[in-house]
Amino acid sequence: MKDIREFLESIAAGEFKIPVCGSCGARAWPPSKSCPNCYSHTMLERIDPIGTLIEFAISNVRNREGAFGVIDIDGIKIVGGLKTQRPSAGMKMKLSACGLREDGSPFYDFEAA
């Protein structure tokens, strides 16, 4: 991964990829161009975006309304919107959409797997 823009461009294209170290295979999360384990370069790789909902709450913050939660995707923890009627802790979730908001920040949406 050249820099963080490459990750954001991927998200903007609706593709959820994780930086993975080309040398030791460790994942860099939060996304980073260098591996937090051996400091080699990372490369964006597709992962199966299915994980477990660890906990959730309901946001009433303006422009960020709705259920959200922490999803663990094989050790990667990510906070996303929950597009399911009845979320529950332990539920299997899959990434249904990702992209960039108007302010340039990413969003990640999940639905029941």
Partner: protein, 364 residues
């Protein structure tokens, strides 16, 4: 290694908009110390500014505005944990004998960039502090049966304490009903479960045991400090959403260094930016069992100045104000909020989602 004392302190009134810039705010707190403490300002070795301001060279600007030419002039930035980090740095400078006398000042504006961590894109759209607070609250409720009423009681207690603090942002008490009926910001966290950003400054003067007695007959000694950084992101801050791992680690080190345990602490300032954080702090510091009932009376007194919920949260100033409060309590100068007979006090200060923590233990 030299012993280090806090010999003087001052805190400004915390307000929504002071009309002052961050330098003027910082100087206001420092000037109170310079006016009230008997020392030659040429002897001041270090000026450390705790702030998340984007202003450059800020500690040095404050030094010049105060007519000071210290050996060391630095800014310390670690979000909400900045203030106690600056105190820990000042402690290290003195304990190592690089300095004898150090002024730590925390100053922040309500619109500080420290209020939101944009770098952490693992949180997607839900990047406000209230979002991780809601997740911690839900996890604690699920695992230990903690109720929204128990969280509300923290707000009621701290807002009541703040009515006695002339520097507090909020000087009106609230009822459990008011907290419970306040707007749900991120359910289960309601508006009155949340602290408010504000303008404010606080300063403390640290001295070596060689010179502390020249400035006060009643020094407050720093007995132990623990610090831990687990991550910058919420994603990697803790594996267990019902505890703040950095705080547990920092507390363990501070207790070990001070040769004191939680049973020795009479008064504590804990980081209650959200009500759930005071509950987590009580457990992480060993003051109560996980999922234990919230103490309302007796035992340790927590957040007698009103905490962050009552006083407001000028990010870089908060940790310094917490240290100033415990120094004030231990020297018997806390006025209407004085905890009688306290000998040992503790400060617990966190940064973003508990990704870093500092615990400082002080004693007479």
């Amino acid at each position: 290694m030299r012993k280090v004392a806090i010999v003087s302190w001052a805190t400004t009134q915390f307000v929504k908009d002071s009309k002052l810039n961050v330098f003027e705010l910082g100087c206001e707190a420092c000037a109170k110390i310079l006016h009230s403490t008997d020392f030659d300002k040429q002897d001041l070795d270090a000026v450390l500014l705790s702030s998340c301001t984007t202003e450059q060279y800020s500690s040095t600007i404050i030094s010049e505005m105060l007519g000071l030419s210290p050996k060391v002039s630095q800014r310390v930035d670690n979000l909400c944990n900045s203030g106690t980090n600056a105190v820990a740095n000042a402690y290290s400078l003195i304990a190592s004998e690089m300095c004898e006398l150090a002024l730590v000042v925390g100053a922040e504006k309500a619109d500080s960039t420290g209020n939101k961590l944009l770098w952490d894109i693992t949180r997607g759209s839900f990047m406000f502090p209230v979002h991780w607070a809601a997740i911690f609250a839900k996890a604690h409720m699920r695992k230990y049966g903690t109720t929204e009423e128990q969280m509300a009681m923290i707000a009621v207690k701290n807002r009541k304490n703040a009515t006695k603090n002339p520097n507090a942002l909020f000087r009106t008490a609230v009822t459990i009903e008011q907290v419970m009926n306040s707007r749900k910001v991120a359910d289960p966290v309601k508006l009155l479960d949340c602290s408010a950003p504000c303008d404010g400054a606080s300063a403390v003067l640290l001295a070596s045991d060689r010179i502390a007695g020249r400035m006060t007959d009643n020094p407050v000694w720093i007995k132990g400090i623990g610090q831990k950084t687990t991550s910058a992101s919420f994603a990697n801050s803790t594996n267990d959403l019902t505890t703040i791992e950095s705080a547990k680690s920092a507390a363990r080190d501070a207790y070990e260094m001070s040769h004191l345990g939680p049973e020795s602490i009479d008064v504590a300032e804990v980081h209650d930016a959200f009500t759930i954080l005071e509950i987590l702090a009580m457990e992480d510091l060993g003051f109560q069992e996980k999922g234990g009932k919230i103490r309302r009376n007796g035992g340790i007194k927590v957040n007698p100045r009103g905490g962050i919920l009552g006083c407001g949260h000028p990010v870089g100033a908060t940790g310094v104000a917490q240290v100033a409060e415990i120094a004030s309590q231990l020297s018997g100068k806390a006025g209407g909020s004085q905890v009688s007979g306290c000998k040992h006090g503790l400060v617990h200060n966190l940064a973003a989602a508990g990704s870093s923590a500092t615990v400082i233990i002080m004693g007479r």
